[in-house]
C-alpha cells in the first residue's frame, strides 16, 4: 500500500525528515510514533500529495505520490489532519452532504458514518456549536463516507476524552477488520499498542525502530521477576534458575501477595531506544 524509501524533507536550512524508510502492507494498522516536531505530519503531507519531498521515493497504491492528484486516486484514500476544517455556519449534515456529493457516495452513508462516531443524534447541529472533540469526530465521519481503502489519521484522538477515544478506537478496529488500511500518527503509546499491528518510532527525522508492538515488548522485556510480599516489601529477582530457591521459599512461607514479570510499555521502549520522552 505504502512504500517509502530514504525520504528526505528540508525546510530552508531545517531538515524535518532525514532518512525515512518503511512499508505499510494492505490491511495493516500502522502507527507512526514520535515526539512533537519529529516529522509525523510532514510525512502524511508528503504521502497525501500536499507537499513534495526533497529527496527519496514515496509510493502509495504502487504509484509515486506526485501522480496521486487525480480524482480517481483521491477517491481511494481519506485524510484527517490536525488542521482540517469544517464549514462552521453549516450543519453537520450539510458538511457531510457536500463530501458525499464530491465522492459520489449515497446520502445514506452520512447517517452510517455519523453513527460510527457516536453523533447520530446531532445531524442538524450547526458546526460552530460543537466542542473540539465533536468537531474531530465529524471530521473522522467525513473521511469514512467513501469507505477509503487507505486512511491517514494525524493524531485522531488528541482532543478526545477517554470514552470517545475508546469509541473511535472500536470504530477504527471495525473499519480495519472490513479491510481499510490505516496509517496513524500519535504520541499516545497506549493507543498505538491497542490499535496497531506495526509501529515505527520516528525521532529527529529518522525511523529508529519498526516492528510489531508484541515483538517489541518481548524483545525489550526485562529479565526480571517482581515479587510483592505481604509485609509490603517489593523484590526484583533475575529471571534465572538461581532465583528459583528464593522464590520458592517466599511461596512456601505464604509471604507472597503478588508475582509479576516486568512488561515494558511502548513508551518505555521509545525512551530506551531514542533517549527521549514522547511528549
Amino acid at each position: 500500500m505504502i512504500e517509502v524509501k530514504s525520504l528526505e524533507k528540508i525546510f530552508g536550512d531545517k531538515r524535518a525528515l532525514q532518512d525515512v524508510s518503511f512499508q505499510v502492507k494492505k490491511g495493516e494498522t500502522f502507527g507512526f510514533l514520535g515526539p512533537s516536531g519529529s516529522g509525523k505530519t510532514t510525512t502524511i503531507k508528503i504521502l497525501t500529495g500536499q507537499m513534495r519531498q526533497s529527496a527519496g521515493t514515496a509510493n502509495v497504491f504502487g504509484i509515486p505520490v506526485s501522480q496521486l492528484n487525480t480524482p480517481e486516486y483521491r477517491k481511494r484514500f481519506g485524510v484527517v489532519t490536525d488542521n482540517s476544517g469544517l464549514y462552521a455556519r453549516l450543519t453537520i449534515y450539510d458538511n457531510l452532504k457536500l463530501y458525499a456529493d464530491l465522492y459520489g457516495t449515497s446520502l445514506q452513508r452520512i447517517d452510517e458514518a455519523l453513527e460510527s462516531v457516536n453523533l447520530g443524534s446531532e445531524k442538524k447541529t450547526q458546526v460552530a456549536k460543537l466542542s473540539k472533540g465533536m468537531t474531530q469526530r465529524v471530521l473522522l465521519a467525513r473521511t469514512l463516507l467513501h469507505k477509503p481503502e487507505l486512511l491517514f489519521l494525524d493524531e485522531p484522538t488528541s482532543a478526545l476524552d477517554p470514552a470517545n477515544s475508546k469509541h473511535i478506537h472500536n470504530g477504527l478496529k471495525e473499519l480495519n477488520r472490513q479491510g481499510t488500511t490505516i496509517f496513524l500518527t500519535t504520541h499516545d503509546m497506549e493507543e498505538a499498542d491497542h490499535l496497531c499491528s506495526q509501529v515505527a518510532f520516528l525521532n529527529k527525522g529518522v525511523v529508529q525502530l519498526l516492528d510489531e508492538p508484541k515483538q517489541l515488548k518481548k524483545q525489550y522485556r526485562e529479565e526480571i521477576i517482581g515479587i510483592e510480599l505481604k509485609d509490603g516489601r517489593e523484590l526484583e529477582l533475575p529471571l534465572k534458575a538461581s532465583s528459583a530457591e528464593e522464590i520458592q521459599q517466599y511461596i512456601s512461607r505464604e509471604m507472597v501477595e503478588r508475582i509479576y514479570t516486568k512488561e515494558p510499555t511502548l513508551g518505555d521502549i521509545f525512551v530506551e531506544v531514542t533517549g527521549r520522552e514522547l511528549v
Partner: protein, 235 residues
C-alpha cells in the same frame, strides 16, 4: 483534465447555503441596493447614475464576494479538505464563480428595477455588462488566491472599489485632477460609453472600441488569475 458537473454543483450548493448565513459578506451585496433606493428617491436621474450603480454592483458583489469566499476557505482550512477530495481546483473555482455570478446578476437587476431602469432594447449594454462581469469575477478570483483571510480581502477590495467600482463618480473630478483621466479606461466608464453611444443609435462600428478595452481587461485578469492558479496548484 476532468470536469465533473456533479462536483461543481455540490460546491455551488454548499457556497450558496453558506453565503445565505454569512451576514458579513452578504450584507456587502446590499450596498448597491441601498444606493439604488437613494437615487430612486431623487426622481429623474441621468444615465450616468444608473451606470454608477451597475459598476458598483459588479465590483462590490462580483469581485468582493468571489474574493471573500475563496479567502475564507483558506482562512478556515477548508480548502485543504476540498483539494484532498476528488474535486479539482477548477471545479471548486467554477462552483464559486457560479454563485458569485448568480448573485451579482440578481443584485444588479434588482437595483435597476428599483431605479426604474429598463434593459429592454439595450442589448449592447447587457453584452457589455456580462463581459465586464467576467473581468470582475476574474479579478476577485485572483485576489482570493493571493489573500489569506476575509479581513485581508476586505482591505484589498478598497482600492478596487475606488478605482473600478466608483470610477463613474470620480471621473467627474478629472478636470481638476488630471491623473484621474486614467479612469477613462476602466470597464465602468466604457460601459457608460456603450450605454450612451447605443442610446444615440450607434452601431458596432462605433461600439467596438469600448468593447475592445473591456476585453483587454478580461484577458489581462484571466492571465493573472491563471498564472497564480498554476502556482497555487504546485504547493
Amino acid at each position: 483534465m476532468t470536469f465533473s458537473v456533479k462536483r461543481f454543483m455540490a460546491i455551488f450548493q454548499k457556497d450558496l447555503k453558506d453565503l445565505y448565513r454569512n451576514l458579513y459578506v452578504s450584507s456587502t451585496a446590499l450596498m448597491p441596493l441601498i444606493f439604488a433606493v437613494i437615487y430612486s428617491r431623487i426622481g429623474e436621474v441621468p444615465l450616468a447614475m444608473h451606470l454608477f450603480v451597475i459598476t458598483l454592483s459588479l465590483a462590490l458583489v462580483g469581485t468582493f464576494l468571489q474574493c471573500a469566499i475563496i479567502a475564507e476557505e483558506k482562512e478556515k482550512n477548508t480548502l485543504r479538505g476540498l483539494m484532498l477530495s476528488p474535486a479539482t481546483l477548477t471545479e471548486i473555482l467554477a462552483g464559486k464563480s457560479a454563485v458569485t455570478i448568480v448573485i451579482t446578476i440578481i443584485v444588479t437587476a434588482v437595483s435597476m428595477f428599483i431605479m426604474d431602469f429598463s434593459f429592454t432594447g439595450r442589448g449592447w449594454l447587457i453584452a457589455g455588462i456580462l463581459l465586464s462581469l467576467v473581468f470582475f469575477i476574474a479579478l476577485g478570483t485572483w485576489m482570493g488566491l493571493i489573500t489569506r483571510s476575509v479581513l485581508e480581502a476586505s482591505v484589498y477590495i478598497l482600492p478596487v472599489m475606488f478605482i473600478f467600482g466608483m470610477a463613474n463618480m470620480f471621473i467627474g473630478l478629472a478636470d481638476q485632477f488630471s491623473f484621474l483621466q486614467v479612469l477613462e479606461y476602466t470597464p465602468g466608464i466604457q460601459l457608460e460609453e456603450i450605454a450612451e453611444f447605443s442610446e444615440a443609435g450607434a452601431g458596432f462600428d462605433e461600439l467596438w472600441k469600448p468593447f475592445a478595452i473591456i476585453l483587454a481587461w478580461v484577458a489581462a485578469t484571466l492571465v493573472l488569475a491563471a498564472v497564480t492558479f498554476k502556482k497555487r496548484m504546485m504547493d
